[in-house]
């Protein structure tokens, strides 16, 4: 058995390496709180990719994700004085974007059917019927997996994002989603099964 009991998958929101000639996040925050907003640009440049993708994985729309990312940074700026300096900044920023994305999803029209979602996201997966787990590891499958996640219903997409991309615990997920831990378990279980169903179903087309 070579599998770790709690796989800490590589996070997509890791703090970029800060070289000695670049100010740390904490130093930038100090400057901004002292009245100089210009250094905030560095934070936006550092984390725009993580924040944008966290939103995109939920809303599945490039323009909407861009708007949400922009709003997330502005809200983060407004609340910068409440941020705990000893905590990493990226998860905090992503969480703001995720909350905005979840609110946006709630305001959207009723959920599409699985077929409609597959069509919307143009999910085209190669045949997975032989050895799906082996094929999932292949580099060219990454984009298809992302699209499969987008084909999930929003509530299931949210738990996949929070668990697999933000690496939050069930308790943290429950707080963000405003549901119980038991519901998180159920929703995550269904989301994973659904994801497998989507991948297999498309593979059989």
């Amino acid at each position: 058995m070579t599998i770790a009991t709690k796989p800490r998958v590589q996070a997509t929101v890791q703090t970029p390496a800060q070289t000695t000639d670049q100010p740390t996040d904490a130093a930038i925050i100090e400057q901004v709180l002292a009245g100089d907003s210009a250094p905030f640009r560095l934070l936006v440049e550092r984390y725009q990719r993580a924040v944008f993708n966290a939103s995109y994985r939920l809303v599945g729309d490039h323009h909407q994700a861009a708007d949400i990312a922009q709003e997330a940074f502005v809200r983060a700026y407004r609340s910068l004085h409440t941020f705990r300096r000893d905590a990493p900044l990226a998860p905090w920023l992503c969480r703001i974007a995720i909350n905005l994305s979840l609110n946006w999803l709630k305001r959207q029209r009723p959920e599409l059917s699985l077929e409609e979602r597959l069509e919307k996201h143009a999910l085209e997966l190669p045949d997975l019927s032989d050895e799906p787990q082996r094929r999932l590891l292949q580099g060219e499958r990454q984009q298809s997996v992302r699209e499969a996640v987008l084909a999930l219903p929003p509530d299931q997409r949210a738990v996949i994002e929070l668990r697999h991309f933000q690496e939050l615990s069930y308790q943290e997920m429950a707080q963000i989603l405003g549901i119980s831990v038991s519901n998180v378990k159920v929703r995550l279980f269904r989301a994973r099964k659904h994801l497998r169903q989507i991948l297999e179903g498309v593979g059989e087309r």
Partner: protein
């Protein structure tokens, strides 16, 4: 997906997820780890979903839109300094309230306290004017030389009046500072901060 495996160890799939997510209790974790040693089906499940997690985490990311940084900065330029606006607004609001309260409390006393001074001042002014004209008339009639004329100052408790005037001046200055700061300066923005605003 090999459906055979799922059937062999039905009911464990949810446990596999909890195990991989680190959400089992220590006892449950140990029990399931022991179970895994003798259960190829569950081992395969763990392998499969762990690899799936890894593939999700390395999923391709899109590049952010090119204008995002500029758009964010353009909006932030119009924003007040984080945390400052709210606190300073509270301070200024408090100043306004305190100022108005002081005005309501001491306003009538101020007016009342000034009346004796006004009366005294007018009386002294009258006496001095009279003295001036008397001196001028005396000069006009060729009655040169210094001749003191009686100056009748009004009866007053000068010490009490001076104390009262000092108090009035202090209260007036405080009122001008409080109300002036609150009304004229308004809430500070990130670019222009009033002289009375909280220095950082």
């Amino acid at each position: 997906m090999n459906e055979q495996r799922w059937d062999e160890c039905s009911g464990q799939e949810e446990t596999v997820f909890l195990f991989l997510d680190g959400e089992l209790s220590p006892l449950e974790h140990a029990a399931f780890a022991a179970h895994l040693q003798g259960c190829p089906a569950c081992q395969a499940l763990v392998d499969e979903w762990a690899h799936f997690s890894a593939s999700l985490a390395t999923a391709e990311e899109l590049p952010p839109p090119p204008g995002l940084v500029e758009e964010v900065m353009a909006r932030i330029e119009k924003e007040p300094v984080p945390g400052a606006s709210r606190l300073d607004e509270l301070i200024l609001g408090g100043q306004l309230l305190v100022g108005l309260g002081l005005l309501a409390l001491f306003g009538p006393s101020l007016v009342k306290g000034l009346l004796p001074w006004l009366r005294t001042g007018l009386a002294v002014q009258g006496q001095l004017t009279l003295l001036f004209w008397q001196r001028l008339l005396a000069l006009g009639r060729g009655m040169g030389g210094w001749r003191p004329l009686p100056l009748e100052l009004p009866q007053a408790d000068w010490f009490a009046l001076s104390s009262q005037l000092g108090l009035i001046l202090v209260v007036a200055l405080v009122l001008v500072w409080l109300l002036g700061n609150a009304v004229l300066l308004g809430p500070p923005s990130g670019r222009s901060r009033g002289p009375f605003s909280r220095a950082r």
